[in-house]
């Protein structure tokens, strides 16, 4: 009997002990486990932190790339907008030039007819008057030709090509405005290479470019420069390319204007249309060349364009 309860007790105790043991054991393990867990947790935490940090880095990289992409997209949109504006402006310009051409053609018709009538009225008499009348007629033709070319240019038709000697063309062009240059007390110097190979180009269009560059140079020197000399130089750049430089000793180009120089409607002249250089560049590019500008080391600026020899592409 006693055994029983003892047994029971023991058994109970044992049971309790057994029962309790695991509890105690469990508590000890728990502590160990807890410590282990804590360690593991810390490790995990650290790992997770590292992971999250690297994820964050990746995410921030992605975000940055996203932002960059957005920036690029914005730039592209900006470019497209510019392009669109450009097209609209050119479209409007073509319209404008067309109506301008019409309006100018009317007085040109009248001037030509008056001059030719006067020539006939004084036929065989007054040689000086005849000469003046002939100048009026020639210039009338020239103005009509400019209008015709401007129309052609805006229609984006192909230029009429012929073989040209660029140095001769420069001489011919300067002859057209030499009076203008002398009257303004400017000196024009030349360094023309007479042995340059011929180029294929549109005479009137290239003359238009030269006239534009020369008159820009003259104006740059008007703007309060003490030197009044300019230089036109033609030379060979390489086997396939010739280069023409128009160098002035004027006020130079402010850095902020450098990029905008060849943009349509960009001008720093109070009465400028902002068309000269952009048209000039498109003419040169249509000829397979390039038109660029740079400031000179000493003073003034140089506009220079390349043209491929005999129609070869400039690379």
């Amino acid at each position: 009997m006693t055994m029983k309860p003892e047994k029971k007790i023991i058994a109970k105790g044992m049971r309790r002990a057994i029962k309790k043991e695991p509890v105690r054991q469990s508590a000890g393990r728990k502590v160990a486990k807890k410590a282990l867990l804590e360690q593991t947790d810390q490790k995990n935490l650290k790992r997770r932190l590292r992971q999250q940090t690297s994820e964050l880095k990746i995410r921030s990289g992605q975000l940055k790339r996203g932002a960059d992409r957005e920036k690029i997209a914005d730039l592209k949109i900006e470019e497209q907008r510019e392009e669109l504006l450009h097209v609209t402006r050119v479209g409007k310009l073509a319209e404008f030039v067309s109506s301008l051409a019409h309006e100018i053609s009317q007085p040109l018709t009248a001037i030509l007819s008056y001059a030719q009538a006067a020539q006939r009225m004084f036929a065989g008499r007054e040689p000086q008057l005849q000469e003046i009348l002939q100048h009026i007629i020639d210039d009338d033709h020239r103005a009509a030709e400019v209008i015709r070319r401007l129309r052609t240019l805006l229609k984006k038709s192909k230029p009429s090509l012929e073989l040209l000697n660029i140095s001769d063309l420069i001489n011919d062009t300067v002859t057209l405005i030499i009076t203008h240059i002398t009257v303004r007390n400017k000196i024009i110097n030349f360094e023309l290479d007479s042995r340059l190979p011929s180029i294929q180009g549109d005479r009137i269009q290239l003359q238009q470019v030269l006239l534009n560059l020369i008159s820009n140079s003259l104006e740059a020197m008007d703007a309060g420069s003490d030197s009044q000399e300019m230089l036109i130089k033609s030379s060979r750049k390489d086997a396939d390319t010739i280069v023409v430089e128009v160098r002035d000793s004027g006020c130079g180009i402010p850095a902020e204007n450098m990029k905008k120089l060849f943009t349509h409607f960009f001008t720093n002249k109070p009465d400028g249309l902002g068309m000269g250089l952009s048209i000039s560049r498109s003419i040169i590019e249509a000829h397979g060349g390039r038109l660029e500008a740079k400031n000179n080391r000493d003073r003034g600026a140089t506009f220079y364009f390349t043209l491929p020899v005999n129609g070869k592409k400039d690379s």
């Binding site: 019409h102 009317q106 018709t109 009248a110 030509l112 007819s113 009538a117 006939r120 009338d140």
Partner: protein
């Protein structure tokens, strides 16, 4: 004698063009009358009139094409030379198709116009493409 002179009509909305062409053509011994509109011409010139009409295409109101058609429809024998500040191939073709003697782009040389007028008045059927 005045009656021997060939009669030229000029219709252009630009008065200066009219006057200059008139003075120029008078040096070639033509008799010249000018109008600034199609209406002005129809009001003053009888349908059976002969001679040569130098006609501007671009005019407010009735333009050169419309005026030439009206002239043709009325049975007029006047030969027409179109003048225009714009030269479009389509316009040159159109001028030839509607039976004009020629098409000149402004500004043009007096002699070219006179040559055309002479052809027009000598042989009204001939068509010259400028």
């Amino acid at each position: 004698m005045l009656t021997d002179k060939k009669k030229i009509y000029i219709v252009d909305d630009d008065e200066s063009v009219c006057l200059a062409l008139k003075i120029l053509l008078m040096t070639y011994e033509f008799e010249v009358v000018t109008f600034n509109s199609a209406k002005g011409f129809f009001d003053a010139v009888p349908i059976d009139a002969t001679g040569c009409l130098v006609l501007d295409i671009h005019m407010p109101g009735s333009d050169g094409w419309a005026m030439q058609k009206e002239l043709l429809d009325s049975g007029s024998k006047i030969s027409v030379i179109f003048i225009s500040a714009e030269k479009k191939e389509s316009a040159v073709d159109r001028a030839m198709k509607v039976g004009a003697v020629g098409f000149l782009q402004k500004p043009f040389d007096g002699q070219t116009l006179v040559d055309l007028i002479n052809v027009a008045t000598e042989n009204t059927d001939s068509m010259i493409k400028q």
